[in-house]
């Protein structure tokens, strides 16, 4: 099984059936359907309340997913709420937990310090302990790296390619202690997502340096033993024109194949 066939972060969108049809035609075979659970009092999301899941919505989504399994017999479908940074996960009761195959959580987007980043694997671990379900940390570098670029972080004048990027240079670019982050994730057994949306956004900045820093950050995590999870972050698509992809290239560079994705074992997915 190839990495691009595994997508554990696929937003249901307005029509779950259309999303699954697109997922199928783009060769995804293990698909984790999600929507965001967030704190409506303190957080706002770009797409408004349509992405905020109530328990009722979620149970409906569960029923839809289960119903559609027979229409997509060669796909393995899972359902996993995406837990926002400010959502009180202890509010996830037995009904939420029973209807979820796994969870994943978002990092805080506006506090980028080592201390804050280290708290992210801790939070994923706490959600896993509370729910008894596997939980990974989604797009760890998306807002962080983009905000650094937008704040003016630029490629070195004489950038000579990824081979010249040391760990120190990557850590300096991202602005937090990546080694400590990796250590925390490994010690707590928390998997971290390699996220397609992040790559898509970073590619928009054109200069290969931005992309290479991201690649090398994941390489550091991998080298330090962090379990990595493929997810596109697909959220809306126009077939043939747009739609975030699973970042298979990065897994290839790291030498990770479908059989190496330990998280699949945790959720009971079969590798075909």
């Amino acid at each position: 099984m190839k990495i691009h066939q595994i997508d554990l972060h696929c937003h249901a969108g307005k029509s779950l059936k259309e999303t699954l049809s697109f997922a199928h035609s783009t060769w995804r075979r293990i698909v984790g359907i999600t929507e965001v659970v967030y704190n409506e009092k303190t957080e706002t999301f770009e797409n408004g309340s349509q992405n905020a899941l109530s328990l009722e919505d979620f149970l409906q989504l569960r029923a839809e997913v289960d119903q559609l399994k027979s229409e997509f017999p060669d796909m393995q479908l899972f359902l996993a709420p995406e837990i926002s940074a400010a959502f009180d996960y202890t509010a996830l009761d037995d009904q939420w937990i029973a209807a979820s195959d796994y969870f994943f959580c978002l990092p805080e987007e506006d506090k980028i310090t080592t201390e804050c980043m280290l708290s992210q694997p801790e939070r994923a671990h706490a959600i896993s302990r509370h729910t008894g379900k596997s939980t990974f940390l989604a797009y760890p570098f998306r807002s962080l790296w983009i905000s650094r670029i937008q704040a003016g972080h630029r490629a070195p004048e004489k950038y000579a390619g990824p081979k010249g990027l040391t760990d120190e240079a990557v850590i300096s670019a991202l602005g937090f202690d990546l080694h400590a982050f990796a250590h925390m994730a490994v010690s707590l057994g928390v998997a971290v997502e390699i996220n397609g949306e992040t790559y898509s956004r970073i590619r928009s900045y054109n200069h290969p340096y931005y992309y290479d820093v991201l690649q090398r950050a994941y390489e550091i995590l991998h080298r330090r033993g962090v379990s990595l999870v493929p997810g596109s972050g697909l959220r809306g698509f126009r077939p043939g024109k747009s739609g975030f992809a699973v970042p298979e290239e990065t897994f290839e560079i790291l030498g990770i194949s479908g059989s190496d994705i330990r998280f699949l074992d945790q959720i009971g997915a079969k590798r075909i």
């Binding site: 691009h4 035609s25 783009t26 060769w27 995804r28 983009i146 630029r154 490629a155 949306e197 898509s200 956004r201 590619r203 928009s204 900045y205 054109n206 200069h207 290969p208 596109s232 698509f237 077939p239 043939g240 024109k241 747009s242 739609g243 975030f244 992809a245 699973v246 298979e248 290239e249």
Partner: protein, 283 residues
């Protein structure tokens, strides 16, 4: 100078996002590392109103380009590290004998499109060969260089639309054959490459095509397009880097120059012959 610093297909005309100026677009190009920038707009685009109800910055095609040219020239002093060019994108309806003098006057070069055809290889190849010839004639008669844009885009969609995704047991780019790439993209690549080389018409390696191939998730789409470029390269075709970016929205329309494909072909800035034709300086 690196390939990603050269973008000869950068839309910044009528299709600008509402409220964005040419300066905003040039600034985005600057901060994303572009240094040789070819600003373009679809020459056949005649809109009377923007989707948001506001008036477009220009009303008629030729006038459009004259104004863009003036705006662009005025921006040069603000961006002294950049070399700015204007290269209108000409649909297949534009031929050398139908070119308005005023349009030629304000243009540094032209970008030529083939018919956006989805279907049989013979017909598609015919359209592409005609586009190469049209491009050659336009260059000769206008005295402005020209290249062929995004040769594989329509056929790539066509394959996806018709449920052709490549071999089920696809084992990576090294296993794609020349014949397979030609068949998948519905293009006689040898004929296209030979004709383009013979008429000395460069072909664009197009960022949007590769971005969209990437969005189809299965690496086969991207790999087969790259293989097709390899075949063209083996026939002596010259290439031009162009992102074909239309929007400034990061992650949702802003597309990069496809430097990685040039890297795979082993092409560097010094190999971009088209730059000499338009008088660009290598920095």
């Amino acid at each position: 100078m690196k390939i990603h610093q050269i973008d000869l297909h950068y839309h910044a005309g009528r299709e600008r996002a509402a409220g964005k100026s040419l300066r905003d677009y040039v600034m985005f190009a600057y901060v994303t590392g572009r240094r040789i920038l070819g600003i373009t707009d679809h020459a056949n685009l005649h809109i009377t109103q923007n989707p948001d109800g506001s008036l477009p910055p220009f009303t008629k095609s030729t006038e459009n380009f004259i104004k863009i040219r003036a705006e662009m020239d005025a921006l040069r002093s603000e961006f002294p590290e950049m070399q700015l060019f204007l290269g209108p994108e000409l649909g297949p309806e534009f031929t050398h004998d139908k070119m308005e003098h005023a349009l030629v006057e304000v243009s540094d070069y032209f970008i030529c499109e083939s018919v956006a055809f989805r279907g049989h290889a013979a017909q598609n190849t015919q359209y592409l060969l005609e586009a190469i010839e049209r491009c050659s004639h336009i260059a000769k008669h206008t005295g402005r260089p020209a290249f062929l844009a995004h040769p594989f885009r329509s056929q790539m969609y066509h394959r996806y639309d018709t449920f052709c995704y490549g071999p089920a047991d696809y084992a990576g780019p090294d296993n794609i054959t020349d014949e397979e790439a030609a068949d998948f993209l519905g293009t006689d690549l040898i004929a296209l490459g030979d004709w383009a080389a013979k008429l000395s018409v460069p072909i664009e390696i197009n960022g949007v095509t590769l971005y969209r191939a990437h969005c189809l998730n299965r690496p086969y789409f991207r790999d087969v397009v790259r293989h097709a470029y390899k075949v063209l390269f083996s026939r002596g075709v010259m290439f031009v880097p162009g992102s074909d970016q239309h929007l400034l929205s990061v992650g949702e329309g802003a597309t990069p120059v496809p430097e990685d494909t040039f890297d795979i072909l082993g092409l560097e800035t010094k190999d971009i012959v088209f730059l000499e034709r338009i008088g660009a300086r290598f920095l």
